[in-house]
């Protein structure tokens, strides 16, 4: 049962990732670069977030419904969307003063 479920999940995850556009973001000195990410509206996209700081960060966004910890010097991916046109702010919870950004769906 577990195995079957696991396989189903894997297949679902793989099929979902097949044709998804990717967008690169870097965390450096507790800033997101670029801080403004323009993505197409109405479709799922994948953010590839590379944490170049040695310390962990948590990518968090209430409007995108996401929170994910990214260990120091590690890369994580976050699937977002499909989004309606608009701007969706996000931040790094561990360094909220500086780590701010926004996804703009258009």
């Amino acid at each position: 049962m577990r195995v079957i479920l696991g396989l189903m999940f894997t297949v679902l995850a793989l099929s979902a990732q097949a044709e998804v556009p990717e967008f690169q973001v870097v965390i450096k000195d507790h800033h997101f670069v670029p801080a403004e990410i323009r993505i197409p509206a109405g479709t799922k996209v994948k953010l590839i977030i590379e944490n170049q700081d040695p310390t962990p960060e948590e990518f968090e966004s209430d409007s995108l419904h996401r929170e994910k910890i990214i260990a120091g010097n590690k890369t994580a991916k976050v699937m977002i969307g499909p989004l309606k046109p608009g701007s969706y702010p996000f931040f790094g919870e561990f360094n909220e003063d500086t780590a701010q950004g926004v996804v703009i769906a258009e």
Binding site: L12, T55, D62, A71, K74, A76
Partner: protein, 280 residues
């Protein structure tokens, strides 16, 4: 300092609220405090281990290991809570009458106490791992580390105090109604955790969202406010839930209530005497 206080407070709060309710809900049970203490210690140790291997966990399941891990821990806690609630539905009346009469604990409180340990341990583990990672970041960060660590400690203390306050409030309730109140609290707590598990599974792209922002009550209580955090833990409040979150919430709620109802039918409260209980 304030930011670290708030971050740690938020993480500690969820575990503290759960432990506060669990302590009140198990009033009258033998050795419950030592079980809870063991759960907290094991959970804290587990949190350090999970934090150490955070990047290993993260790389599982095509990079969605963190989501899978969080959802699994949450769903395990839901199952533990369901087990506890159904057990209490069977034996609660007897526990209440004994706790009332003698104020002493029930010797043959036969609920597998390991459930308690696991429940508390997992609650501490999930939130604790994040605190450990955050503190590691501070420690590695340098300059303002001591202020940040002061803030974190304050946040920890405040979170624990809220847990104690909740417990203190709950045990003032007369024992007989305490079990009804704490059971009701635990049922919605469990349903809320099921909803949160769905949120992680959606984020990991394991299950469809069935529509985001089914409704939006951010203007009333936003998810990022402390009230949002408290209600989020206690009753699974989410200002902007996805459809699948609501499905998980309702299914967990219905299943647990049905289980409790079934357990009560099996052991009608009216027929409870010490002897029939001993025989059962």
């Amino acid at each position: 300092m304030l930011s670290s206080l708030i971050i740690v407070f938020r993480e500690v709060l969820e575990a503290a609220l759960i432990i506060g309710i669990v302590c009140a809900a198990t009033r009258g049970m033998d050795k419950r405090f030592s079980m809870v203490a063991i759960g907290i210690i094991l959970g804290a140790l587990g949190a350090v281990i999970v934090a150490l291997f955070a990047d290993v966990v993260a790389d599982f399941a095509e990079g969605m290991g963190q989501e899978l891990f969080n959802a699994s821990v949450l769903l395990t806690v839901v199952v533990m809570l369901a087990w506890h609630l159904i057990w209490m539905a069977q034996h609660g009346a007897e526990l209440a009458s004994r706790a009332n009469k003698t104020g002493s604990s029930v010797r043959e409180g036969s609920e597998p106490l390991t459930v308690l340990i696991l429940l508390v341990g997992l609650a501490v583990l999930r939130e604790g791992a994040e605190v450990v990672l955050f503190l590691y970041g501070i420690a590695a960060g340098g300059s303002s580390a001591s202020m940040m660590i002061m803030g974190s400690l304050l946040g920890l203390v405040l979170g624990v105090l809220v847990g104690f306050a909740l417990y203190g409030g709950l045990i003032r309730i007369p024992t007989r109604s305490l079990f009804a109140v704490s059971s009701a609290l635990l049922v919605v707590l469990a349903a809320g955790m099921a909803g949160k598990a769905a949120k992680y599974l959606i984020q990991g792209d394991f299950i469809p969202a069935l529509g985001y922002d089914l409704w939006d009550t951010s203007a009333l209580i936003s998810n990022n406010s402390i009230a949002g955090e408290v209600f989020g833990t206690l009753i699974g409040y989410d200002a902007k839930p996805a459809g699948m979150q609501v499905v998980f919430y309702v299914v967990a709620l219905v299943l647990i209530l049905a289980g409790m109802w079934w357990a009560k039918q099996k052991h009608p409260v009216a027929s409870f005497t010490k002897d029939s209980q001993a025989a059962a």
